[in-house]
């Protein structure tokens, strides 16, 4: 699903990644850890195809439509409602039975009652739940999740635990977290980055 060889990334003179080798089969679950500034986000952006490496190679069997990317930002429009955001992304990502899928995800993540409210009125945790709905909406083959537990309360984190456990084995995951113990039972591999 994802193979990287001697992957590296430089921004001008600053090197943020060096010599990363990866071989993640379909259904794999890679947990990436490391201190701030170790290049976790850069690595995930490369895995998602949003950033090109400056050294080494990466091969991805999933085409861009099969990638679900959750970044530090929720990647939703604050002036649109949750429903409008998911309708927009559902259309752009060619989601079949968009309304049913949108409704199911909003209900699962506890946002159904506020689906007509603008995202600007949401708490950070609610926005993160919506971001997870957006990522899962098109049932991607490769899920690239950068700190998916950030801003979630315990109930939200447990919802995400259930979702990850359900999809474990069916989908391929690359995930960063500062709490690797939370996903220890799901992980098939780990990568620790250093500064």
């Amino acid at each position: 699903m994802l193979t990287a060889h001697r992957l590296g990334k430089r921004y001008g003179e600053r090197r943020v990644l060096r010599g990363i080798d990866l071989a993640l089969p379909r259904g794999g679950f890679l947990v990436v850890t490391g201190p701030n500034g170790s290049g976790k986000t850069t690595l995930l952006r490369i895995c998602a195809g949003l950033t090109q490496p400056t050294e080494g190679t990466i091969e991805r069997t999933a085409v861009r439509a099969q990638v679900g990317y959750l970044g530090h930002e929720p990647l939703v429009y604050r002036e649109l409602t949750a429903l409008e955001n998911l309708e927009l992304y559902g259309r752009l990502y060619r989601v079949a039975e968009r309304r049913e899928r949108t409704g199911m995800l909003l209900e699962r993540f506890g946002l159904w009652d506020v689906r007509h409210d603008r995202v600007a009125s949401y708490s950070r945790g609610m926005t993160q739940r919506l971001a997870l709905c957006r990522v899962l909406l098109h049932e991607p083959e490769l899920l690239v999740l950068d700190e998916p537990y950030s801003a979630l309360d315990e109930a939200g984190a447990e919802l995400l635990d259930v979702q990850l456990a359900e999809l474990r084995g069916e989908r391929t995951f690359v995930l960063t977290t500062h709490d690797p113990a939370r996903v220890e039972s799901l992980a098939s591999g780990a990568l620790a980055l250093a500064t």
Partner: protein, 216 residues
Amino acid sequence: MSYVRDVGALARKDLLLELRARDTLPAMLLFVAVTFVVFHFALPGTPSRLETSGLLWIAILFTALLGLGRAFVPEREQRTMDALVLAPCDRSAIWLAKSIATLAFLAAAEVVALPLYALFFHSITSTTVAAVLLADLGICGVGTFLGAMAVATRARDLLLPLLFLPLAIPIVVGAVGATVGEPVVSSPGRYLAFLALYDLLFAVICWASFEYVVAE
């Protein structure tokens, strides 16, 4: 058909965002109205059609710049471009939809601008209206393309006018030529054709190369 639907969904999103946030259109309306009022009092006597045609196009161009500068602000602030470029839709749909939305804002500003121009200076001819329509297409198409380039840089506010204004010179030449009309210009129709050619040429260039603008 899916391309048209994608463009429609993206343009609708931009119009909805503006309807709710009201970040761009009020500023454009206020700017263009104030500009004409300032010109009205700054120019003594009755300025000629030749002079005021230039003023009209300066006002339109800088009003458009206000809108173009704001075009990709939601994508920049909420980083939604990452999600848009991963979508399986043709990336040029993002450019086309943004151009359509910016065109709508510019046209709305001109609905106020043209009657004000007629009130303060000279009457509006059908050739002027045609020139405005054709120039708007070029301004929004090229400006949106350059806006997407500029938004990825730190000097975005500076870069957009620096990139856009030189490329807008042919638009000004064609638009002023068509607006001035006879007897200064022998055939305004040729200027309209020039504007149409500019629109077509740059639309093809922007449509074909937008993919590379949003890729890293």
